[in-house]
């Protein structure tokens, strides 16, 4: 139990003194996960919309499949993307393995099912009523879609937050694709994993507390934006 209180004290010390390595790792964690969630949002929210607003054969099966992939282990995604980016793999020539760009690809792939799936759920929550109202007022299809999107924005923001949370807190992809290279691909989660395996439990705990604090700040900020 000592480690937990020691971890708290160490976390506060690290934050107050702005320990350069911790700051650097934290900034890297944030920038990689935010980039991933941005790309994923740009791709996945429209895809979610496309699926929700179109009726086609196998739609239900497709949604089931997407939902199944919510629980894909991060290490499995890591392995998959590793095999793609490895020099012997199909994208090996791009030299993205063990680089931050590779990690962004990995995390984007990881959160894609959850982002698409939750977008569909978010839109479904409002689509039926709005669709009828808007259509009855003579809106075009596109206008209906935007109206629904607008009404569903709270749930869509929640989707983005969840995607961000999963990207920031995962360790499988970061470890396999990034390689935990000090000063280059080391992020909070891989640093926690490393410190734990090396027995510096206070520091590991402190880094965990920092990760949660960041998550809190980002959540507050986004909720603020959403509230307006």
């Amino acid at each position: 139990m000592d480690e937990i209180s020691a971890g708290f004290i160490r976390a506060i010390q690290l934050i107050i003194t702005l320990n350069p390595e911790v700051v650097e790792i934290t900034v890297r964690s944030l920038s990689i996960s935010l980039t991933s969630v941005l790309i994923a949002s740009l791709v996945d929210i429209p895809i979610g919309g496309l699926i929700e607003f179109h009726d086609f054969r196998g739609k239900r099966a497709l949604i089931n499949l997407i939902q199944t992939f919510y629980s894909i282990p991060t290490v499995t995604v890591g392995l998959l993307v590793y095999l793609l980016l490895s020099r012997s793999g199909p994208l090996g020539g791009m030299g993205l393995l063990f680089s931050p760009a590779g990690m962004v690809i990995g995390q984007t792939v990881l959160i894609t099912p959850i982002m698409i799936g939750l977008t569909i759920s978010a839109l479904r929550g409002v689509s039926v009523q709005i669709e009828e109202t808007a259509l009855s007022m003579g809106a075009t299809n596109l206008q209906v879609i935007f109206t629904i999107m607008k009404e569903a924005r709270v749930a869509v923001v929640a989707t983005v937050l969840l995607g961000f949370g999963r990207a920031l807190s995962e360790v499988g992809v970061a470890m396999m694709i990034g390689g935990n290279i000090r000063g280059y691909t080391r992020v909070l989660t891989t640093a926690i994993s490393l410190e734990t395996s090396m027995g510096d439990l206070d520091l590991a705990m402190a880094l965990g507390i920092i990760l949660i604090s960041i998550s809190l700040v980002v959540n507050l900020a986004l909720n603020r934006v959403q509230g307006r």
Partner: protein, 322 residues
Amino acid sequence: MFNLVIEMERKLLKISVLILMLAMICIATQAADSNNSRLKLVTTTSLHDTGLLDVIKQKFEEKYNNVSLDVISVGTGIAIQYGERGDADVLLIHDKTREVKFVKDGHGLERRCVAYNYFNIVGPKDDPAGIKGLNATAAFKNIFQKGKADPTKVTFVSRGDGSGTHSKEQTLWKAAGYNYSNQVNTSVNRWYLEAGSGMGATLTMTNEKSAYTLTDTSTFMAYNSTYKGNFTLVPLVESTIDLLNVYTAIAENPKKHPGVNCEMANKFINFLVSEEGQKLVGGYGMDKFGKALFFPAKGNCTLIGCSSGECAVPTNASCAAA
């Protein structure tokens, strides 16, 4: 209402463009430093966790200031996997059999022995298997017999992760006269636990279970000092000749894996075997642990079983691609 909707569309479009630009900037900043030449060193956790590679990285980057040494620390098993797929530029590992095969299969250029130390068999202070003072082979025999007789008293924790240490352990079981997969690592053996983790995690488990394990000296010492007195394991068999642990550097072969940073890999190996590199290796740990964690290979070739052509001499291997 529809004017409002059209307004919304415009706004959304603007926001999307903004987000897209932001994402581009993020990616660009992350890609920016990739112009700097990078040397990907895949190595074992035991070398990395001691902090030795931080020192080597610093000195090497001072010498060649246009390169960034990327240290990726994994078990020797995965390190060789990475090497075979061309994902590393240079390997620093400790498993002679697999190293020789790696070079023979054309994945690596030349082996160079750079450092050595000894594995330790560590265990609880009261030593229920009575191995203190024995050599490693005899100690393994004792652990096997006592463990089989009473698994509640004598337990052995294995890395079980295909690492160099795991490989050494299997060699020792064989030397002790047991078949590893039929007699030692079987599901009925309650005294034999496969951790499937790195050295640090395995040591923690061994400590919690008051068991025995095979560890490299350096991780054990580094771990012992960071774990702040919660550690009850002590070295029981150390520095016997059958516990020798030799670290080797091998550059990736550009003929087999085009695109690897071969020139820099050779420079790195030559740095390690240079006067300066060998001094760094040999002196590391003095101030922190009171004794050296590694010994330089230079001058100890016969002891560590490295031929004079492979032992701490510079490499001139050609970097020509196929």
